[in-house]
Symmetry: C2
Subunit: 205 residues, 2 copies
Amino acid sequence: MASAEFWYEFASTYSYPAALRVGALAAERGVSLAWRPFLLGPIFAAQGWRDSPFNIYPAKGRYMWRDVERTCETMGVPFKRPAPFPQPSLLAARVALALQGEDRASFSRQLYAAEFGQGASIADRTMLASLLARCGVDPAAALERAESDANKALLKAECARAAEIGIVGAPSIVTGDGEVFWGNDRLEQALDWAAGRREGARPGV
Amino acid sequence: MASAEFWYEFASTYSYPAALRVGALAAERGVSLAWRPFLLGPIFAAQGWRDSPFNIYPAKGRYMWRDVERTCETMGVPFKRPAPFPQPSLLAARVALALQGEDRASFSRQLYAAEFGQGASIADRTMLASLLARCGVDPAAALERAESDANKALLKAECARAAEIGIVGAPSIVTGDGEVFWGNDRLEQALDWAAGRREGARPGV
Protein backbone atom coordinates (compact mmCIF):
# COMPACT_ATOMS: atom_id res chain seq x y z
CA MET A 1 0.00 0.00 0.00
CA ALA A 2 1.25 3.49 -0.82
CA SER A 3 2.13 5.51 2.25
CA ALA A 4 2.97 9.07 3.24
CA GLU A 5 3.80 11.05 6.36
CA PHE A 6 1.89 14.14 7.44
CA TRP A 7 4.23 16.40 9.43
CA TYR A 8 2.43 19.10 11.39
CA GLU A 9 3.03 21.67 14.13
CA PHE A 10 0.23 22.73 16.45
CA ALA A 11 1.24 26.40 16.33
CA SER A 12 1.03 26.44 12.53
CA THR A 13 -2.01 28.13 11.02
CA TYR A 14 -1.93 26.31 7.68
CA SER A 15 -1.69 22.97 9.51
CA TYR A 16 -5.28 23.58 10.72
CA PRO A 17 -7.09 23.31 7.36
CA ALA A 18 -4.57 20.65 6.31
CA ALA A 19 -5.33 18.48 9.36
CA LEU A 20 -9.04 18.68 8.58
CA ARG A 21 -8.51 17.74 4.90
CA VAL A 22 -5.64 15.29 4.81
CA GLY A 23 -7.33 12.13 6.11
CA ALA A 24 -10.03 12.05 3.44
CA LEU A 25 -7.59 13.01 0.66
CA ALA A 26 -5.26 10.14 1.62
CA ALA A 27 -8.12 7.63 1.91
CA GLU A 28 -9.50 8.63 -1.54
CA ARG A 29 -6.11 7.77 -3.04
CA GLY A 30 -5.56 4.61 -1.03
CA VAL A 31 -2.57 6.16 0.74
CA SER A 32 -1.82 5.05 4.29
CA LEU A 33 -1.03 8.13 6.35
CA ALA A 34 1.27 8.47 9.37
CA TRP A 35 0.62 11.57 11.49
CA ARG A 36 3.92 13.03 12.72
CA PRO A 37 3.67 15.98 15.10
CA PHE A 38 6.84 18.04 15.45
CA LEU A 39 8.04 21.50 16.44
CA LEU A 40 9.12 24.20 13.99
CA GLY A 41 11.04 26.07 16.70
CA PRO A 42 14.39 24.28 16.13
CA ILE A 43 14.05 24.62 12.34
CA PHE A 44 13.25 28.33 12.61
CA ALA A 45 16.09 28.81 15.12
CA ALA A 46 18.52 27.26 12.62
CA GLN A 47 17.46 30.03 10.21
CA GLY A 48 18.06 32.67 12.86
CA TRP A 49 14.39 33.20 13.73
CA ARG A 50 13.35 33.40 17.37
CA ASP A 51 9.68 34.00 16.52
CA SER A 52 7.25 33.02 13.78
CA PRO A 53 8.31 34.52 10.43
CA PHE A 54 4.73 35.81 10.24
CA ASN A 55 5.52 38.03 13.23
CA ILE A 56 9.04 38.91 12.13
CA TYR A 57 7.83 39.94 8.65
CA PRO A 58 4.54 41.80 9.15
CA ALA A 59 3.67 41.96 5.42
CA LYS A 60 3.88 38.17 5.23
CA GLY A 61 1.84 37.95 8.42
CA ARG A 62 -0.94 40.16 7.03
CA TYR A 63 -1.05 38.08 3.87
CA MET A 64 -1.15 34.80 5.82
CA TRP A 65 -3.98 35.83 8.16
CA ARG A 66 -6.21 36.89 5.29
CA ASP A 67 -5.26 33.81 3.28
CA VAL A 68 -6.06 31.39 6.12
CA GLU A 69 -9.33 33.20 6.86
CA ARG A 70 -10.29 32.92 3.17
CA THR A 71 -9.28 29.24 3.08
CA CYS A 72 -11.42 28.44 6.12
CA GLU A 73 -14.35 30.41 4.69
CA THR A 74 -14.15 28.42 1.46
CA MET A 75 -13.97 25.15 3.41
CA GLY A 76 -16.91 26.23 5.57
CA VAL A 77 -15.01 25.86 8.84
CA PRO A 78 -14.78 28.50 11.58
CA PHE A 79 -11.63 30.55 12.07
CA LYS A 80 -10.61 32.52 15.13
CA ARG A 81 -7.12 33.87 15.62
CA PRO A 82 -5.66 32.66 18.94
CA ALA A 83 -3.73 35.02 21.19
CA PRO A 84 -0.85 35.01 21.59
CA PHE A 85 0.35 33.80 18.21
CA PRO A 86 2.15 31.50 17.92
CA GLN A 87 0.66 29.40 20.69
CA PRO A 88 3.08 27.44 22.91
CA SER A 89 2.73 24.00 21.31
CA LEU A 90 5.26 21.89 23.22
CA LEU A 91 2.86 20.09 25.56
CA ALA A 92 0.28 19.52 22.82
CA ALA A 93 2.96 18.00 20.57
CA ARG A 94 4.13 15.72 23.39
CA VAL A 95 0.56 14.59 24.03
CA ALA A 96 -0.08 13.86 20.34
CA LEU A 97 3.15 11.90 20.11
CA ALA A 98 2.18 9.85 23.16
CA LEU A 99 -0.98 8.70 21.35
CA GLN A 100 -1.10 6.12 18.58
CA GLY A 101 -2.98 5.66 15.32
CA GLU A 102 -6.48 7.09 15.07
CA ASP A 103 -6.31 8.50 18.62
CA ARG A 104 -3.44 10.73 17.52
CA ALA A 105 -5.22 11.90 14.38
CA SER A 106 -8.48 12.51 16.20
CA PHE A 107 -6.83 14.41 19.07
CA SER A 108 -4.84 16.51 16.58
CA ARG A 109 -7.92 17.50 14.56
CA GLN A 110 -9.82 18.41 17.71
CA LEU A 111 -6.91 20.44 19.02
CA TYR A 112 -6.68 22.44 15.77
CA ALA A 113 -10.44 23.02 15.79
CA ALA A 114 -10.22 24.37 19.34
CA GLU A 115 -7.14 26.51 18.66
CA PHE A 116 -7.94 28.04 15.29
CA GLY A 117 -11.70 27.42 15.11
CA GLN A 118 -12.43 28.85 18.58
CA GLY A 119 -9.20 30.70 19.41
CA ALA A 120 -8.53 28.51 22.48
CA SER A 121 -5.19 28.38 24.28
CA ILE A 122 -3.49 25.04 23.64
CA ALA A 123 -1.03 25.26 26.53
CA ASP A 124 -3.93 24.78 28.95
CA ARG A 125 -3.80 21.31 30.59
CA THR A 126 -7.51 21.29 31.41
CA MET A 127 -8.36 21.96 27.80
CA LEU A 128 -5.97 19.24 26.60
CA ALA A 129 -7.47 16.82 29.15
CA SER A 130 -11.00 17.53 27.95
CA LEU A 131 -9.99 16.94 24.31
CA LEU A 132 -8.36 13.65 25.33
CA ALA A 133 -11.51 12.56 27.14
CA ARG A 134 -13.54 13.43 24.04
CA CYS A 135 -11.27 11.07 22.05
CA GLY A 136 -11.99 8.27 24.51
CA VAL A 137 -8.47 8.43 25.94
CA ASP A 138 -7.74 8.53 29.67
CA PRO A 139 -6.44 12.10 30.16
CA ALA A 140 -4.27 11.51 33.24
CA ALA A 141 -2.52 8.49 31.74
CA ALA A 142 -1.96 10.23 28.39
CA LEU A 143 -0.54 13.36 30.03
CA GLU A 144 1.75 11.21 32.16
CA ARG A 145 3.04 9.35 29.08
CA ALA A 146 3.36 12.69 27.26
CA GLU A 147 5.69 14.04 29.93
CA SER A 148 7.80 10.92 30.37
CA ASP A 149 11.50 11.27 29.59
CA ALA A 150 11.18 8.71 26.80
CA ASN A 151 8.43 10.68 25.07
CA LYS A 152 10.29 13.99 25.46
CA ALA A 153 13.35 12.39 23.87
CA LEU A 154 11.19 10.97 21.08
CA LEU A 155 9.84 14.44 20.22
CA LYS A 156 13.38 15.81 20.11
CA ALA A 157 14.34 13.00 17.75
CA GLU A 158 11.31 13.73 15.56
CA CYS A 159 12.35 17.40 15.29
CA ALA A 160 15.89 16.39 14.33
CA ARG A 161 14.47 13.99 11.76
CA ALA A 162 12.28 16.75 10.25
CA ALA A 163 15.31 18.97 9.74
CA GLU A 164 17.30 16.08 8.30
CA ILE A 165 14.55 15.27 5.76
CA GLY A 166 14.61 18.90 4.61
CA ILE A 167 11.32 20.06 6.10
CA VAL A 168 11.22 23.86 6.21
CA GLY A 169 7.65 24.53 7.28
CA ALA A 170 4.36 22.98 8.29
CA PRO A 171 2.33 21.22 7.16
CA SER A 172 4.56 19.02 5.03
CA ILE A 173 3.88 15.69 3.36
CA VAL A 174 6.80 13.32 2.95
CA THR A 175 6.30 10.51 0.46
CA GLY A 176 7.78 7.02 0.57
CA ASP A 177 10.47 7.98 -1.95
CA GLY A 178 11.58 10.92 0.21
CA GLU A 179 9.91 13.81 -1.61
CA VAL A 180 8.85 16.74 0.59
CA PHE A 181 5.78 18.83 -0.28
CA TRP A 182 5.18 21.91 1.85
CA GLY A 183 1.86 23.58 2.39
CA ASN A 184 -1.85 22.99 2.80
CA ASP A 185 -2.19 23.81 -0.89
CA ARG A 186 0.10 20.91 -1.85
CA LEU A 187 -1.68 18.05 -0.09
CA GLU A 188 -3.36 16.79 -3.27
CA GLN A 189 -0.16 16.94 -5.32
CA ALA A 190 1.80 15.18 -2.56
CA LEU A 191 -0.74 12.41 -2.08
CA ASP A 192 -1.08 11.93 -5.85
CA TRP A 193 2.69 11.53 -5.91
CA ALA A 194 2.57 9.06 -3.00
CA ALA A 195 -0.13 7.07 -4.82
CA GLY A 196 2.05 6.94 -7.92
CA ARG A 197 -0.37 9.09 -9.93
CA ARG A 198 2.27 11.55 -11.00
CA GLU A 199 0.41 12.56 -14.11
CA GLY A 200 -2.26 13.96 -11.83
CA ALA A 201 0.26 15.67 -9.60
CA ARG A 202 0.28 19.03 -11.35
CA PRO A 203 0.40 21.91 -8.91
CA GLY A 204 -3.14 22.84 -8.07
CA VAL A 205 -4.68 20.79 -10.87
CA MET B 1 -16.01 40.55 -17.80
CA ALA B 2 -14.18 39.24 -14.75
CA SER B 3 -10.59 40.42 -14.54
CA ALA B 4 -7.42 39.73 -12.62
CA GLU B 5 -3.83 40.91 -12.50
CA PHE B 6 -0.85 38.59 -12.80
CA TRP B 7 2.11 40.11 -10.92
CA TYR B 8 5.44 38.51 -11.77
CA GLU B 9 9.16 39.04 -11.34
CA PHE B 10 11.64 37.74 -13.90
CA ALA B 11 14.09 36.57 -11.25
CA SER B 12 11.41 34.46 -9.57
CA THR B 13 11.59 30.71 -10.15
CA TYR B 14 7.94 29.97 -9.42
CA SER B 15 6.90 32.72 -11.86
CA TYR B 16 8.28 30.54 -14.67
CA PRO B 17 5.72 27.69 -14.50
CA ALA B 18 3.06 30.25 -13.55
CA ALA B 19 3.72 32.37 -16.67
CA LEU B 20 3.38 29.26 -18.83
CA ARG B 21 0.10 28.20 -17.17
CA VAL B 22 -1.76 31.41 -16.33
CA GLY B 23 -3.00 32.46 -19.78
CA ALA B 24 -4.91 29.25 -20.48
CA LEU B 25 -6.27 29.06 -16.92
CA ALA B 26 -7.64 32.62 -17.17
CA ALA B 27 -9.12 32.02 -20.63
CA GLU B 28 -10.87 28.80 -19.47
CA ARG B 29 -12.61 30.82 -16.76
CA GLY B 30 -13.42 33.83 -18.94
CA VAL B 31 -11.12 36.03 -16.86
CA SER B 32 -9.37 38.93 -18.60
CA LEU B 33 -5.76 39.00 -17.45
CA ALA B 34 -3.42 41.98 -17.07
CA TRP B 35 0.28 41.05 -16.95
CA ARG B 36 2.10 43.26 -14.43
CA PRO B 37 5.87 42.84 -14.25
CA PHE B 38 7.48 44.20 -11.10
CA LEU B 39 10.58 43.81 -8.94
CA LEU B 40 10.70 41.97 -5.63
CA GLY B 41 13.90 43.79 -4.59
CA PRO B 42 12.18 46.71 -2.84
CA ILE B 43 9.72 44.36 -1.11
CA PHE B 44 12.52 42.10 0.10
CA ALA B 45 14.58 45.13 1.17
CA ALA B 46 11.67 46.32 3.31
CA GLN B 47 11.90 42.97 5.12
CA GLY B 48 15.62 43.42 5.64
CA TRP B 49 16.69 41.03 2.88
CA ARG B 50 19.46 42.07 0.48
CA ASP B 51 19.37 38.77 -1.43
CA SER B 52 16.80 36.15 -2.36
CA PRO B 53 15.42 34.44 0.78
CA PHE B 54 16.26 31.19 -1.03
CA ASN B 55 19.94 32.16 -0.76
CA ILE B 56 19.69 33.64 2.73
CA TYR B 57 17.95 30.50 4.06
CA PRO B 58 19.69 27.51 2.42
CA ALA B 59 17.17 24.93 3.66
CA LYS B 60 14.36 26.88 1.96
CA GLY B 61 16.53 27.17 -1.14
CA ARG B 62 17.16 23.44 -1.31
CA TYR B 63 13.43 22.78 -0.95
CA MET B 64 12.55 25.33 -3.63
CA TRP B 65 14.99 24.04 -6.26
CA ARG B 66 13.74 20.48 -5.92
CA ASP B 67 10.13 21.66 -5.86
CA VAL B 68 10.48 23.74 -9.02
CA GLU B 69 12.33 20.95 -10.79
CA ARG B 70 9.53 18.53 -9.85
CA THR B 71 6.88 21.02 -10.97
CA CYS B 72 8.52 21.47 -14.37
CA GLU B 73 8.94 17.71 -14.75
CA THR B 74 5.24 17.20 -14.11
CA MET B 75 4.34 19.95 -16.58
CA GLY B 76 6.68 18.46 -19.17
CA VAL B 77 8.73 21.66 -19.54
CA PRO B 78 12.52 21.88 -19.35
CA PHE B 79 14.24 23.30 -16.29
CA LYS B 80 17.78 24.59 -16.01
CA ARG B 81 19.01 26.63 -13.07
CA PRO B 82 20.50 29.95 -14.23
CA ALA B 83 23.72 31.28 -12.71
CA PRO B 84 23.93 33.52 -10.86
CA PHE B 85 20.65 33.21 -9.00
CA PRO B 86 18.77 35.46 -8.74
CA GLN B 87 19.32 36.88 -12.23
CA PRO B 88 19.47 40.70 -12.54
CA SER B 89 15.93 41.35 -13.78
CA LEU B 90 15.77 45.15 -13.97
CA LEU B 91 16.23 45.56 -17.72
CA ALA B 92 13.93 42.64 -18.56
CA ALA B 93 11.20 44.13 -16.35
CA ARG B 94 11.59 47.52 -18.02
CA VAL B 95 11.34 45.91 -21.46
CA ALA B 96 8.20 43.95 -20.52
CA LEU B 97 6.60 47.07 -19.09
CA ALA B 98 7.36 48.99 -22.30
CA LEU B 99 5.34 46.43 -24.26
CA GLN B 100 1.56 46.21 -24.36
CA GLY B 101 -1.06 43.47 -24.40
CA GLU B 102 -0.15 40.17 -26.02
CA ASP B 103 3.37 41.40 -26.88
CA ARG B 104 4.09 41.72 -23.17
CA ALA B 105 2.68 38.28 -22.34
CA SER B 106 4.49 36.64 -25.23
CA PHE B 107 7.84 38.32 -24.46
CA SER B 108 7.48 37.38 -20.79
CA ARG B 109 6.80 33.71 -21.50
CA GLN B 110 9.74 33.54 -23.88
CA LEU B 111 12.02 35.21 -21.40
CA TYR B 112 11.10 32.73 -18.67
CA ALA B 113 11.59 29.81 -21.06
CA ALA B 114 15.08 31.11 -21.93
CA GLU B 115 16.01 31.84 -18.29
CA PHE B 116 14.70 28.78 -16.48
CA GLY B 117 14.24 26.39 -19.39
CA GLN B 118 17.71 26.94 -20.84
CA GLY B 119 19.54 28.69 -17.99
CA ALA B 120 20.18 31.82 -20.10
CA SER B 121 21.29 35.14 -18.63
CA ILE B 122 18.46 37.67 -18.82
CA ALA B 123 20.60 40.76 -18.33
CA ASP B 124 22.07 40.21 -21.79
CA ARG B 125 20.82 42.89 -24.26
CA THR B 126 21.48 40.73 -27.32
CA MET B 127 19.37 37.94 -25.87
CA LEU B 128 16.56 40.36 -24.98
CA ALA B 129 16.72 41.82 -28.50
CA SER B 130 16.44 38.39 -30.09
CA LEU B 131 13.41 37.51 -27.93
CA LEU B 132 11.79 40.81 -28.92
CA ALA B 133 12.38 40.09 -32.60
CA ARG B 134 10.83 36.66 -32.13
CA CYS B 135 7.71 38.39 -30.76
CA GLY B 136 7.50 40.55 -33.88
CA VAL B 137 8.59 43.66 -31.97
CA ASP B 138 11.31 46.04 -33.19
CA PRO B 139 14.11 45.41 -30.65
CA ALA B 140 15.86 48.79 -30.87
CA ALA B 141 12.64 50.77 -30.45
CA ALA B 142 11.45 48.58 -27.58
CA LEU B 143 14.78 48.84 -25.73
CA GLU B 144 14.75 52.60 -26.19
CA ARG B 145 11.22 52.87 -24.77
CA ALA B 146 12.24 50.48 -21.96
CA GLU B 147 15.04 52.81 -20.88
CA SER B 148 13.13 56.05 -21.15
CA ASP B 149 12.74 58.07 -17.97
CA ALA B 150 8.96 57.69 -18.17
CA ASN B 151 9.16 53.89 -18.30
CA LYS B 152 11.72 53.76 -15.48
CA ALA B 153 9.39 55.88 -13.35
CA LEU B 154 6.46 53.65 -14.28
CA LEU B 155 8.30 50.54 -13.07
CA LYS B 156 9.11 52.27 -9.78
CA ALA B 157 5.43 53.14 -9.40
CA GLU B 158 4.45 49.53 -10.15
CA CYS B 159 6.81 48.29 -7.41
CA ALA B 160 5.33 50.76 -4.94
CA ARG B 161 1.84 49.67 -5.95
CA ALA B 162 2.75 45.99 -5.39
CA ALA B 163 3.88 46.74 -1.84
CA GLU B 164 0.77 48.83 -1.20
CA ILE B 165 -1.55 46.02 -2.37
CA GLY B 166 0.17 43.66 0.08
CA ILE B 167 2.12 41.54 -2.40
CA VAL B 168 4.88 39.63 -0.57
CA GLY B 169 6.18 37.35 -3.30
CA ALA B 170 5.89 36.33 -6.94
CA PRO B 171 3.91 35.22 -8.74
CA SER B 172 0.79 36.78 -7.25
CA ILE B 173 -2.70 37.12 -8.63
CA VAL B 174 -4.74 40.13 -7.56
CA THR B 175 -8.47 39.91 -8.16
CA GLY B 176 -10.87 42.75 -8.94
CA ASP B 177 -12.05 42.87 -5.32
CA GLY B 178 -8.47 43.28 -4.06
CA GLU B 179 -7.71 39.75 -2.91
CA VAL B 180 -4.07 38.66 -3.23
CA PHE B 181 -3.17 35.02 -3.93
CA TRP B 182 0.52 34.16 -3.79
CA GLY B 183 2.16 31.28 -5.59
CA ASN B 184 2.14 29.18 -8.73
CA ASP B 185 0.08 26.66 -6.79
CA ARG B 186 -2.68 29.21 -6.17
CA LEU B 187 -3.41 30.28 -9.75
CA GLU B 188 -6.51 28.12 -10.08
CA GLN B 189 -7.94 29.24 -6.74
CA ALA B 190 -7.25 32.90 -7.56
CA LEU B 191 -8.78 32.75 -11.01
CA ASP B 192 -11.80 30.82 -9.70
CA TRP B 193 -12.22 33.63 -7.18
CA ALA B 194 -11.86 36.27 -9.92
CA ALA B 195 -14.49 34.46 -12.00
CA GLY B 196 -16.85 34.48 -9.02
CA ARG B 197 -16.72 30.69 -8.70
CA ARG B 198 -15.84 30.73 -5.03
CA GLU B 199 -17.36 27.35 -4.37
CA GLY B 200 -14.64 25.94 -6.63
CA ALA B 201 -11.94 28.00 -5.03
CA ARG B 202 -10.84 25.42 -2.46
CA PRO B 203 -7.12 25.31 -2.02
CA GLY B 204 -5.76 22.82 -4.47
CA VAL B 205 -9.15 21.31 -5.35
